[in-house]
């Protein structure tokens, strides 16, 4: 397997970030998930990405639905408010919260059951709205919390521990997000932390909805022989779309690759995402190409990872709504209660 990340800069791990905080300041409560559950790995990757990006945790709001995956917001960023909503309906809660305060940095964690089954409708409408937040699906092909039933992302032919075979075609949430016009679509693998951290950093820099489908094995119910979402199987079938590098806006690093070997995408905040091609010249802004590439990988029995689709310029929902710059929840009464003359005029019109 090729290296999934680009080495940019010294590559040395920092001990303290720009806010003078340590990685441990981004930690959360003690996890209650099974040892070696993929979801815990993703939590650690989230902690690292937010720490390295020097995000102020007080400005972050965490959201989730219901499932083992949806429990994880309690295990990272304890200085951030968190909201464990109802099954499949996290998008609505997150939408409301961000409408109320669009300066919040929203991060949602869902599962494949939570998103692809009960929450499919809300997920699709969240994507259509391009609500500025990060939406992570910790995808293990099963319902972990209810003890191992198939989910809608389980591959055709994959086998449950009990021997039950899945006859139904899987849903590809990345392809769905691309189809619905999402401006940031990526797939990661809990077993490739470096790639995930870079994807997450890029998502933090994105000023719109970022959908990250991360293959996150359930060691208890879906990591056996015959499973297609286990660690071993996923590692063997991980097909890298490109190598990813992330350059924060404050790092004056020269990016010089041989012409034509890498694409550099500048993000809203001035940071840069470097995508070094590994195969054909892949244009992440091309919706049709993204769909083709995803479908080809699936047809070949491969799991495509990387930033599949990237359109940082897309207008987000708050911009479409043309709301004031201040968060709506802090507007003083003078701004939210029209003057007496306004009521008098309305009354006159009704007389």
């Amino acid at each position: 397997m090729a290296e999934s990340t680009l080495k940019i800069g010294s590559g040395e791990a920092i001990k303290e970030n720009k806010l003078g905080l340590k990685a441990t300041d981004y930690g959360g409560g003690k996890s209650t998930l099974c040892a070696a559950c993929g979801h815990d790995a993703v939590s650690n990757q989230i902690i690292r990405a937010f720490f390295e990006m020097s995000v102020k945790a007080e400005k972050v709001a965490k959201f989730s639905g219901i499932g083992c995956s949806s429990k994880t917001p309690a295990y990272f960023l304890s200085r951030s408010h968190g909201f464990n909503a109802v099954h499949g309906r996290m998008p609505a809660v997150a939408t409301g919260a961000i409408l109320a305060n669009h300066t919040l940095i929203g991060i949602g964690v869902s599962g494949d059951g939570d998103t692809a089954s009960i929450g499919l409708g809300q997920f699709m409408h969240l994507v259509r709205r391009n609500l500025p937040m990060i939406y992570i699906i910790e995808n293990n092909g099963v319902y972990g919390l209810t003890k191992g039933q198939f989910s809608a992302t389980a591959d055709e032919g994959s086998k449950l521990k009990t021997g039950v075979i899945n006859d139904l075609p899987p849903m590809d949430l990345c392809a769905l997000a691309v189809e619905l016009g999402c401006g940031f679509v990526a797939r990661g693998f809990a077993g490739d932390p470096k790639q995930m951290v870079n994807i997450l950093k890029a998502a933090i820099a994105h000023n719109g909805l970022s959908v990250i489908d991360v293959i996150s094995p359930c060691v208890t119910f879906n990591n056996h022989e015959g499973s297609t979402k286990g660690y071993t199987y996923s590692k063997e079938h991980d097909e890298l779309l490109h190598q990813i590098g992330f350059v924060p806006e404050y790092e004056p690093i020269e990016i010089d690759y041989e012409p034509g070997t890498a694409r550099v995408v500048e993000m809203h905040d001035g940071s840069k995402i470097v995508l070094k091609k590994l195969e054909e010249d892949y244009d992440p802004a091309d919706q049709v190409m993204a769909l083709q590439r995803l479908h080809r990988a699936t047809a070949n029995g491969q799991m495509l990872t990387g930033i599949v689709h990237l359109r940082p310029e897309k207008k987000n929902f708050m911009e479409m709504l043309n709301v004031v710059d201040e968060p709506l929840n802090t507007l003083p009464l003078e701004k939210t209660r029209p003057p007496k003359e306004a009521l008098e005029k309305i009354m006159r019109d009704l007389m």
Partner: protein, 660 residues
Amino acid sequence: MQIKENNVSETLMADVAEEVDARTEPIVNDLTIHVATVNGSGSQSSNNVLMRSIFQMGVPVSGKNMFPSNIAGLPTWFTIRANKHGWIGRKKEVDLMVCMNAQTAREDVEALQPGALCIYDAPLNCKTMRNDVHFFEVPFAKLAADLSEDSKLRKLLTNMVYVGIVAELIGIERDEILAAITKQFKGKQKAVAANVAAIDKGLEWAKANLPRQNKWRVERMNATQGKIIVDGNAAAAIGAMFGGVTVVTWYPITPSSSLCESLIEYMKQHRIDENGKATFAIVQAEDELAAVGMVLGAGWAGARSMTSTAGPGISLMAEFVGLGYFAELPGVIWDIQRVGPSTGLPTRTAQGDINQVAFLSHGDTQHITLIPNSVGECYEFAQQALDLAEEFQTPIFVLSDLDLGMNNWMSDPFEYPTKPIRRGKVLTAEQLTELEGKWGRYADVDGDGIPWRTLPGTDHPFASYFTRGSGHDAMARYSERPADYKATVDRLQKKYETAKLFVPRPVVDTRDGAKIGFIAFGTTHWSLEEARDQLRREKGVETSYFRLRALPFTDELKEFVATHDRVYVVEQNRDGQMADLIRLEVGEDQRKLRKILHYTGLPPDARTITDAVLQMESTIGLAEPLLLVRALPTLGGTAPAVIPTIVPQTGSREVRAAED
């Protein structure tokens, strides 16, 4: 009342005809006009103009639209009631019928009381249907023929012609019609001119061709000066806007859609700041689950948020509302009640969501609910609900209904709020510093059951907490300990108790020596007040009246029941949902309760209530405890008839009004 059996002789007919012409004492400013048209034919503007011109003549008036669940083609009716005493609830007798719809002409005519007036479109040939009604045949097609080249416009103008005919027949002043038209068409010159021409056509033709009638007249009086006409949904929208709402989410459903649609219009006019930016966000959600989820998410993050829906939407919101209750999330939910499921009578009115709303969701949930009876209270409660939501950190329901929400009501102009809005217990970063970060999200530090909260984004390292359902301790730490759960739900109950001191108090009218008391709420009020007047004038019976305006019940309820011998709970559903809640509340005294239930899809009328009371008053000696006898199936008939009768039940403490 069995109209069909009214075999009226020729002689009687002659009497009636004579009476209409020769009566010297007309009934002034007390009549009901019923207009039958086809849905989608554009009669709405004509009916509004008719209603508004009577209003402008100073006569109290109401307008009720009875429409089908259909865009075009099915029958629709509009009823205007003008009444000098201000009784503007529904009246079942129709005094002046306008028949424009071939589909319903026969049943419309058959439903009339003897002696009524009936204007009809000539081809319907209504005069052959009965001989005890005074008919006025009008060749509408001929009159409208040269009003416009455009056949579509001609159809609309035909409806304006009947406005002219009615005006001439009962004496509505032309100037007031012109003013109403200008208002209706917002002064658009071309439209105003075309409609005025149609009205004049009707007026002139009627003057030249129709016999005079002197039975019902409209005359100028002075009871509407300075008043407004508005529907409850628009009133609620105005209230919400002045109540400082910032996040509104909704999913279209009749009869609630016009609430958010009005709100969008008002907000666009009055809530765009000097930089052209919105001080609000209104989102049409993908369904009601999402709508209420957004409301609660916004409430959690500190916005004043609301949504509006009807019964089916409330059903979908059930899970989220449970979370909202246990996780203590603010948000306002308007339920504009209508009849049953979507394939029921979605465009007919009811008060059938009381049980659903009062206890919506899983576990031990109970919700603070406000119940406005008027457009004025829609305006007021819209603001109060936003305050209560934030103060009590819980979903607040407002129960309106189709009759209130979508029909036009007269009202005093709304008053500008004098008090600042109330935002509830929110800790700021500074306060957290003072507290040295020591606070518990679910700790009842004030003893009122209401904890303090922080908002996401608060810039303090100890501001954050994790929100989840009921599995937490006072510090918002995850907990499944029995004692923690019990403490949580017990505190929630205490909070509900506290709410008794803050919800709108009932309006109680206790009469000296009255043995009979009424309890009603919402739109039932209008007919009930008139029924009390009927009982007083016709039977000399004084009654007291307790108008419920909120859940939880306040202490006045028990006292009211205790101080009356018999208490009639009047409501618009089959089971007496509110009466049953009252039974639980009043304990021993429940034997005094009796139910009057009106559930036909139409608003109740005073006479039905009066008759029901008189019928049950004849059974005072009933053995205790309370016996509820189920009504016989209602007499057949599928059409929305206008004449309610009471299904007689001897020995019952429950009367169910039926319409045949």
